[in-house]
Symmetry: C2
Subunit: 348 residues, 2 copies
């Protein structure tokens, strides 16, 4: 009797190492550009997706989240943690993995690391929003918060928007040095700054990405002049924000999925009547993006399950003909589906 | 520069093959008995668990569910599908995998197949309930529905309750033949029956486990005499039941987590005032189990996240000193947690 698993039992697993190989092979800017298009394509068919606020398990140290969605043909979810205190322990603040499955059989199609992939899709999502919300010919971006996400943001804005200069600031100088070093050969002009005020000098786009689990004020009202696009990605859970609320009062604010952002985003500081626009409406023509050169636009991004769905499908589409995956037997697949016990028995 | 993942990047993965080796090494009846104790131990600390109805994504073919829970120290979730039409396609009706993680860092501890493990924990949960609800000295069980779960139920009731005879019935005769064949050397007396009526002859416990996604009537009221314990595990999603509601009207009904069972269990047929007892209360002394020999008890089991949590922790506890797992690098773990990009860059 065969005790080796059948082909049905195996699914491709993309390890961290293989994800790195995949990104290097296709080129990180190409991946970021294609991912931006993939995320945007799914935002254009927003109505097809099953959407719910993520399922979050909060503790005093952080949060563990499950982020599921489905377009009726494929189902995806991501497991992701957010633990600001992890850095001090030598762990990642955010680590993630994800799964793509078929809706018709419920069988998984692919399991993959998503720590790297989340960094890539977050940057791609920021770039997608900036395409429609940043002022025309944006060439300078301030990058406030120079942690794990900084380089991905910089390269996505370069590849998708044509940003040429990135002005770095972090309260931790060594974080800025790390980011500047990593981007030295990127083709971007990198300017290390000694204050947030210095960093935003001449910038058309301000990206904030700091990791404190606390109400913080990275940007105050007087720092934000007319015409700026703010790409706020660090305020992404209850009790964690980065912008002074006076900025929100002056800005046109765009969000991913309003019910989730009201709980987790910068707008948790505002009352429920504060107007926001779900970004997909800009793509569908149901709402306007930037309407004039003096407007302050804010993309209050907390990350949404459809973006992970897009990223998972993108990676899955890249696998055929490559060896960027290994097979793991995660599914019991007896010859006779009713004979699970017989399979176990014969393996003895 | 090191491009090999650090130890933190790896987690143990228990494949289907390794789960089978683990079960055979410790012995299936020992595993079922220990699992029953593990599930019961966690039911005794019910209040500590974060509980929510599972997150279900329904489609016309079936359902994909995520079942998370946490006791404040460990977090677990299970991915599981339920697709009755899968059998005809050669796929499992139910396939699952699960994860155990640390709450304090959010880092995964173990990934494992859970198709086999779900079959084991479902049987263990049934046996736990039967310990307190079945009539004393129950020796005969009717097993109606002889699919993938049947043998596990039979062996758990043998190991935990001391059942000696199992009477099999399924509308598909080949399913009964399969089950009888698999249990031929189990030490149980196996009787293959030609009707449900025949199967329940002399039984103290009736287990129903059929897989139709439809309102079905496996048991009618006249078939159930006084003193019987019904272990109903096949009615486990909206629109799927096995018992005639007149049986429910006569029975004392015990459930896992009432908000979930109202939606998914046999009691979806009854109105909201129908009284049920959450099983943990029997263990804590807040409610009585079986009170007399003529009572009909019903365990309306739909499966609950804490049972998977118990099973995952049990398997995790068995791994040290064994080779029933492989390491997979699912977590990106750069030397400097803020330097995810540097890790990617150095892997080039």
């Amino acid at each position: 009797m065969p005790s080796a698993p059948s082909q049905l039992a195996y699914i491709p697993f993309v390890s961290v190492e293989n994800m790195m190989r995949l990104v290097h092979n296709f080129g990180i800017e190409t991946v970021l550009l294609e991912l931006t298009d993939a995320v945007e394509a799914d935002y254009r068919r927003w109505d097809l997706f099953e959407k719910s606020p993520r399922l979050a398990s909060h503790s005093k140290e952080g949060v563990i989240e499950l982020m599921p969605t489905s377009d009726g043909e494929a189902f995806s979810f991501k497991y992701v943690n957010g633990h600001p205190s992890n850095t001090a322990k030598g762990f990642q603040t955010v680590a993630a993995f994800g799964l793509l499955a078929r809706v018709d059989t419920g069988y998984p199609l692919m399991l993959t690391e998503m720590t790297l992939l989340t960094a890539l899709r977050t940057a791609a999502t920021s770039a997608m929003a900036a395409r429609y919300l940043a002022p025309e010919h944006s060439r300078v971006m301030a990058m406030i918060g120079n942690g794990a996400q900084a380089e991905f943001q910089a390269l996505a804005m370069k590849a998708v928007i044509g940003v040429e200069e990135v002005r770095l600031y972090d309260i931790d100088r060594s974080a800025t040095e790390k980011t500047a070093r990593n981007l030295a050969d990127s083709g971007l002009r990198i300017v290390s700054c000694s204050s947030a005020q210095d960093a935003i000098e001449g910038a058309q786009i301000i990206t904030t990405c700091t990791a404190d689990k606390a109400y913080a004020t990275i940007l105050t009202d007087n720092m934000v002049g007319p015409g700026i696009h703010i790409n706020a990605i660090g305020g992404d859970c209850p009790g964690k924000t980065e912008l002074h609320k006076d900025i929100l009062a002056r800005a046109e604010t765009f969000v991913e999925f309003e019910p989730q952002t009201r709980i987790e985003g910068e707008i948790q500081q505002m009352d429920a009547s504060y107007p926001v626009t779900e970004f997909w409406k800009v793509l569908s023509g149901d709402a306007e993006g930037r309407t004039n050169a003096r407007q302050i636009t804010l993309f209050d991004s907390v990350g949404f399950a459809t973006e992970d769905f897009s990223a998972l499908r993108y990676v899955y589409s890249k696998l055929p003909g490559t060896d960027y995956f290994q097979h793991i037997d995660i599914l019991a697949d007896p010859d006779d589906p009713r004979d699970l016990f017989g399979m176990l028995q014969r393996a003895a």
